[in-house]
Subunit: 344 residues, 2 copies
């Protein structure tokens, strides 16, 4: 490259960079620009210190405009038909005048990320619709990082005018309880099997569901789906009422029966009416915010300690001593802290 080209390249690069900054992105986001939304999310994902500062600034500026969407978590094991379900549900919601954003997260399986989630080709009709936005989560983040990232994406989507935000997870149990703490309504998708096969549901997931769908309830599976629905209803019966006094319902759904989506959308709407009637939506979201605030503090303090090489070394030595029954656990924890308090 000669000098002129190099200069052009640099100025182009600087221009691109400045387009990313919060001040420029904000008005575009307010107008609902999908391109700005993509850029803003990239900014949030960035690991550069300067980008992080810009991202924080953008979020702070956005905050008063957020919170106006219905945040819906949708989960289910691979093969349950999440993509087709979300695509059809999304299209039905758009028909009703909504703008639908889909954020897909799968912190547990980096390898399969491309095939399971985020692949636009798997929701072709929805992704081509101008009232939709689909974005996968980056795969190189810890569970805590995914949580932070996804929460912030929700805000940005809300700023850009999306009034339905769907958070998609693979339902392997690890991330769902975290996701539950950043959404309003949690929908669990289930295959039309029952009995022993219900065991596929991971511990705890059914308990956090606000609605359950037996998916692929068509053709030969229709009878089995009805049986699964009954089994799930019985199982739900065994759980105590949730904190918000909401009765969890089970639905059958099929891509060949559009009316099945109608019933689920109705249930979601009832849910929000139920929360708003009792003035609980804001309360729940505030509690969620405080939860994350404390989580982040916690996480940052701990990472300060555990990221240091000295601390890692010391942890290893102390855990060895615990293993060999040389030190009681509590005494070991005090030893660790005394050593590192002075360095913090």
């Amino acid at each position: 490259m000669d000098n002129q080209h190099l200069n052009e390249w640099f100025s182009k690069r600087e221009k691109l960079k400045s387009e990313h900054t919060a001040e420029k992105l904000f008005p575009q986001l307010i107008k609902g620009s999908i391109i700005a939304l993509s850029k803003a999310i990239t900014l949030i994902e960035s690991k550069k210190e300067n980008d992080k500062k810009e991202a924080d600034f953008l979020l702070q500026k956005s905050l008063p405009y957020t919170g106006k969407s219905k945040r819906i978590g949708i989960s289910g094991i691979p093969g349950v038909g999440k993509s087709s379900f979300i695509e059809n549900l999304g299209l039905e919601l758009i028909k009703k005048g909504h703008k639908v954003a889909v954020l897909a997260i799968d912190p547990s399986s980096e390898k399969n990320l491309g095939s399971i989630l985020g692949d636009k080709t798997r929701m072709q009709l929805l992704s081509q619709n101008e009232n939709s936005f689909i974005r996968p989560s980056p795969s190189n983040l810890s569970l805590g990082g995914v949580a932070k990232h996804t929460r912030e994406c929700i805000y940005l989507c809300e700023l850009a005018g999306f009034d339905i935000i769907i958070i998609e997870t693979v339902g392997v149990g690890q991330s769902e309880t975290q996701v539950k703490k950043m959404i309003d309504y949690f929908l669990l998708l289930h295959l039309p099997n029952s009995g022993d096969e219900l065991q596929g549901i991971k511990r705890g997931i059914m308990e956090i569901a606000d609605g359950i769908v037996v998916n692929k309830a068509d053709g030969e599976m229709q009878k089995k789906a009805q049986l699964a629905k009954k089994m799930l209803e019985n199982a739900l019966h065994l759980f105590p009422k949730n904190d918000i006094n909401w009765t969890v319902k089970v639905f059958c759904s099929s891509i060949y029966d559009i009316s099945s989506y109608e019933k689920i959308i109705q249930n979601i709407e009832y849910y929000f009416l139920h929360l708003e009637k009792n003035n609980q939506l804001n309360e729940i979201r505030n509690l969620q915010d405080i939860y994350w605030f404390r989580e982040y503090i916690n996480e940052q303090i701990l990472s300060y300690f555990t990221e240091s090489t000295n601390a890692k070394e010391e942890l290893k030595i102390l855990e060895q001593k615990i293993y060999l029954k040389e030190l009681p656990v509590y005494v070991a924890s005090k030893e660790f802290l005394n050593k590192f308090k002075s360095k913090f």
Copy 2:
């Protein structure tokens, strides 16, 4: 009091104090002295700095002698008949040559502590038996404090030769997951009711049970108990296998049918054989130790921050800003830390 009396009183007091110290207690504990065990637990409960040091020293000295008991958690809502159940189970175990310690914890209800737990009169036969030891947890501790205290009591009881340690909780859901992390086998007691009434089981508790007992299965309730057993078995069916590949069984039990305890004891014995066959008991306990080690570090760091008046003030201010949407959660957490890092 004249001078002579005062001096006598002081020297007596000093003597009493010195009897409490680790060096004196240790050999008595090894010999199985119940009086020494009571004193040692009092030492652990003490909030005086000097006592704390002695307690740490005692625990460290005891460590190589611990781990030889079967640690059993027993939980159930008030009214399920925990006291009679534990008394009968304990007496049966003693008949088989065991020494049984019962540690009762109830961090959730300070007021009812006396009536629900720890009251020796409620297990009269067991408490009078020389091969038993019954001790309630102090009520003025946080959940974390109870955990620390109870774990250390387990060690002391083991040092004193108790080979069955029963940890009793009231089954309100809060403390059970913590207790699960310090015991080997978790037994859930249930009333002979079913269907809607199964809802009394708190979320998550059934999932951590290694065995379930339908208690008070006698007289008119026998039929209902059988039905409840079936319902519980069906419910268990819906859960996936636990990590250790153990099949959870449901038993009916009644104080009028001593053979019912026999079956439960057998199940506990099978459980330990199952773990030992797969070499899992030590592994599980080591993982538990590491869990508590990290918990304690976590807790101490956080308490350092949140116990400071300045930190409390700052948290309040920041939470207010989050509530008013002035600050994004993550930014607020960073602000908090930057403010306090320099002071730590």
